[in-house]
Amino acid sequence: MKPDSQPPAPAARIPQQDETALVARARAGDHAAFGALAERYAGVARRVARAVLGDPDDADDAAQDGFLSALVKLEQYDPRRPFGPWLLRIVANAATDRRRRRTVRRVEPLDPGLVAGGTRPDAAAERRALSERLRQALAELPERRRIAVVLFDVEGYSHAEIAAVLGIPEGTVRSEVFHARRRLRVSLADWKGEG
């Protein structure tokens, strides 16, 4: 099974002018403008939170916390800088905080079919199994590495932007992406080998 190979979706790519205007309106209390920002960044924020937390419900809660925290901190946002990395940094921090607060880590059991290398009756089941395997592989990576690879390969952010999100040097981002890819590719290769 091979997923569709498409370039990262440009969902989070908003012209700077539009973004600045939206943020200014949201800052002034414009409900619709904040809604537009939430719509545009919902996908990437939820994926980043899920990369950190694993559990989709926890991830959504963390992403919502991130949006609300950003709304409260909107006065602190520097409009000369891109909004996306600023927001995603807040979301990533919200996810990290939530992960730290979790006293008992929920370990989701592997799909028995995956563990046993069982049969894959149809394409949908294959996709689900592959996704499960990828999530497991992602969960084994250090948190920063997960965020880096998701932002780079899924969302199409540059190393510089990811560096701004994570608060680390660009060179470190490159290294994190490289190591994450190597681990995830091994996981995918094993999957193909089993097929």
């Binding site: 809604g35 939430a38 592959l130 995918l188």
Partner: protein, 112 residues
Amino acid sequence: MTQEPLPFDHRPDPVLGAALRQALDPGDAAAFVAVVLARADETRAFAGSWHGVLARWARVGLGAAVLLALAGGYLVERAGATGGTPSVTEALIAPRAQAPEVEVVLASVLEP
């Protein structure tokens, strides 16, 4: 993804990216955004009510300050007015501002 990349490949890997996107697919975006907006409204409503409380306190405080200032002004003025008109006893025992000249004193002594 099919080829081993350079250590610091600066291009996104579309195959790995698509697989990860599918693995992390968050589902219904509309419901998520609706929850975010509802929580944002609650946050704003809370902030609004908090500002309202502060504003009410500020109004009460301002009124109290004005009353205190008026009362203080009245008392000071009253005290000042009382100090300006001494009683007869005070006037009699009060020392003179200037001592009388020597000739006047001598004259008062020598005169029968």
